[in-house]
Amino acid sequence: MVTKLIGSAIVVLATTKIGYDAGSAYTRRVQELRAFQSGLWALKSEITFCQTMLAEALLKVSTLISTNVKAVFCTASENLTKQNGITAKEAWDSALTSCNKELSLKAEELAILHSFGGMLGNSDISGQITNIELTIENLKSCESEAVSAEKKSKKLCRSLGVIAGIFLAILFI
């Protein structure tokens, strides 16, 4: 009986953890979307007011962000610095691809970020501003959708995790 009780407790804990993890992915998604937006605002300032070279600007921006998004800006900057003959699009796309596993973003949000890379660094300041502002605008609408998804699904995932664990435990006992 004691073994059954210990087993049931482990099952409940495990499913609860799965539920909480699934729920926190919604929170991470919102945080990442916000981090990308603030990163892009900072990039806009670097380009507009200082005309900082892109590799340096991306590196500076990465120091201002604390979530997983930091790695995207940092890797893109490294790609530009270390690889010869690489364009900004290639550097940005490769950074997004390599950091993809760490991010909780949906495919359409990644698509917005990939299309941002297409114009990155290859036009005058007003072109860069338009590209950044358009991307921020798109990310903002994704953010409001992500916030409502978080509200709806976060609690649901957590509760489901606990309930599923209890249900399985009852079955075992």
């Binding site: 070279m53 590799a55 364009t87 300041i125």
Partner: protein
């Protein structure tokens, strides 16, 4: 870093792979690499034009512009407006395409159709035949005139090196070609006493150097008529001027530059060509206190 590396790392991979097999020594003799959209890749080596069996594409031209600008085209708009960007090593990348003109002023160049990579070299001693004209009775104000590709910049770099060993020299390097400064350090030997202000318009640079560095000689490249008043100001301060200008005829160039009231200040005006190799001295005229000794010189080259 070698010239070859400096150039290859600024080219798209497709083109740098093709040029990778070219010997280092050939790069040392190479003057230009030309990328023209839809046409063959072209090299100018030691005065000879060589075409390579590779058709340059629009993507390659666009990629090349991105790479040479460090993927930061927005930071090079001023340079693009002027039609060139200078890269690490002092190599000048010329750009042509469709000019965007607003109120009679070029504000951008779009649809880039051609890129010309002009490779800079340092040839120590290439100014040896010119130095006697510059150093005749102390330093004389000297104007070196030649069409493009005749070695003006290479010669003036060597003049800076030689004068910089003995005098306080200030170089106004508007295009960053003469000294190829990188993080405050010249990429070429320009002499122990040579100070440089780079990527600065000549008229501003001359004023700045006069105020801050107390030069004995000011060296600058490719002067135009808009720079003449700054040159006058420097001359009135007792500073000597060594400058270059585009042209293939001394009189016409002096007229174009509107140097009538300045010409007597120049002790030598030297015309170069590439008839017997870059830097061939075609003609030397002496003005000012040497007017009565005006003479033409025999042809020689470095």
């Amino acid at each position: 870093m070698t010239t070859k590396r400096q150039i290859l790392e600024n080219l798209p991979l497709e083109i740098s792979k093709i040029l990778e097999n070219i010997l280092e020594s050939t790069f040392e003799k190479m003057q230009e690499i030309r990328l023209r959209m839809g046409r063959q890749l072209m090299l100018c080596v030691d005065g000879d034009i060589k075409t390579l069996p590779h058709i340059v594409t629009r993507e390659e031209i666009e990629k090349c512009l991105q790479i040479i600008s460090g993927c930061s085209v927005y930071a090079f708009l001023e340079e693009i407006k002027n039609g060139f960007i200078t890269i690490n090593g002092g190599h000048r990348i010329g750009i042509c395409g469709r000019a965007v003109v607003q109120n009679g002023v070029v504000t951008n160049i779009k649809s880039i159709s051609g890129i010309n990579i002009r490779i800079a070299h340092q040839i120590k001693g290439c100014a040896n035949k010119i130095m006697p004209y510059i150093l005749d009775k102390g330093i004389g104000n000297t104007l070196i005139i030649s069409p493009p590709q005749c070695g003006k910049t290479t010669i003036i770099r060597d003049v800076a090196r030689q004068l910089g060993e003995r005098f306080k020299v200030s170089v106004i390097d508007e295009r960053g070609e003469i000294c190829a400064m990188s993080a405050g350090e010249p990429q070429y030997d320009i002499g122990e006493m040579t100070d440089v202000i780079d990527l600065c318009p000549k008229s501003i640079g001359i004023e700045l150097m006069l105020r801050s560095m107390s030069p004995e000689v000011i060296i600058t490249d490719e002067i135009a008529d808009c720079d003449i008043s700054s040159l006058k100001r420097a001359l009135s301060c007792g500073v000597k001027i060594i400058a270059t200008a585009h042209g293939d005829n001394i009189e016409n160039t002096l007229k174009r530059l509107k140097t009538e009231d300045l010409i007597n200040e120049f002790s030598s005006v030297i015309l170069l060509s590439n008839r017997k190799g870059a830097g061939t001295i075609e003609e030397v005229k002496h003005y000012g206190y040497k007017t009565n000794r005006q003479r033409n010189c025999s042809v020689s080259n470095y």
